[in-house]
Amino acid sequence: MKTPSDDLKNMLAAWRVEPEFRPGFNREVWCKIAASNAVRRESFWQNLLSTLFAAPRLATVTALAVAVLTLSLGSAHLAARNANARQWTMLEERYARSIDPLTRSSMKE
């Protein structure tokens, strides 16, 4: 015997949803996602900068830290470049000595 619930089951089984998207729907969705990501990134940096420079003391300390770090890294870069050049010359001299019997004999004595 047929029950009302059988009818409902049959109706549900036969039900097909065919959504219709307007043209350019996908593109619009991706554009919205990209825009929201950009806003989030922007707001992170804005938040960070405004936090760092909000209080005058914190701003001074931050500026000082940046200056100190720039100076120390700059001087380290120069010192490392000089040290590398010096060591490169030492390697060149070591090579020249390694093929020169006269220099090697002087070092032996």
Binding site: P101, S105, E109
Partner: protein
């Protein structure tokens, strides 16, 4: 006041930390090359941008030259010691001193010629441009050495 001192200490720490970290990072490769026993060969490879084949050939040339170089080095050292003793033992230029001087000079010439031969062999294994630059660089070393030894023989006076 205390806060300012603390800030100064933090800045100094930051500066020192940044300096040390950067310096160590930037010089570690060169220091490791200098510490290696064959660091000079690595220098040659990088300075003249040698290919693996060129480097292998040059390494073989060096391996073949090394025993000859060692023998010459021994001979020169012996001759120098003999000359040194003879100079101390005499008060005039005896025939023996003269002969020791000649022997020493002859050995020096032989060493330079052998070294120059090796330099030409190595340069031939490189590209023409690198080979020419290598000869030029090694020539400077040979001539510098030559001038130094002649200045030393002349008693430190350059004429």
């Amino acid at each position: 006041m205390k806060k300012n001192l603390l800030l100064l200490a933090a800045m100094l720490l930051l500066a020192a930390g940044g300096y040390c970290a950067y310096y160590h990072f930037a010089t570690s490769e060169m220091s490791s090359m200098l510490g290696k026993s064959q660091g000079e060969m690595e220098w040659l490879r990088q300075e003249f941008q040698l290919t693996d084949a060129q480097f292998e050939k040059i390494d073989a040339l060096h391996a073949a030259y090394r025993p000859q170089c060692d023998r010459m080095c021994e001979k020169v050292a012996e001759s120098r010691i003999r000359l040194d003793h003879l100079i101390d033992a005499n008060r005039s230029v005896t025939p023996e001193v003269e002969s020791a001087f000649k022997e020493y000079a002859l050995l020096e010439e032989q060493c330079r010629q052998a070294m120059l031969g090796h330099i030409y062999d190595v340069s031939a294994a490189m590209s023409p441009e690198s080979g020419a630059r290598y000869v030029q660089l090694m020539k400077d070393h040979i001539l510098l050495q030559y001038n130094t030894s002649h200045t030393a023989l002349r008693g430190g006076h350059s004429h």
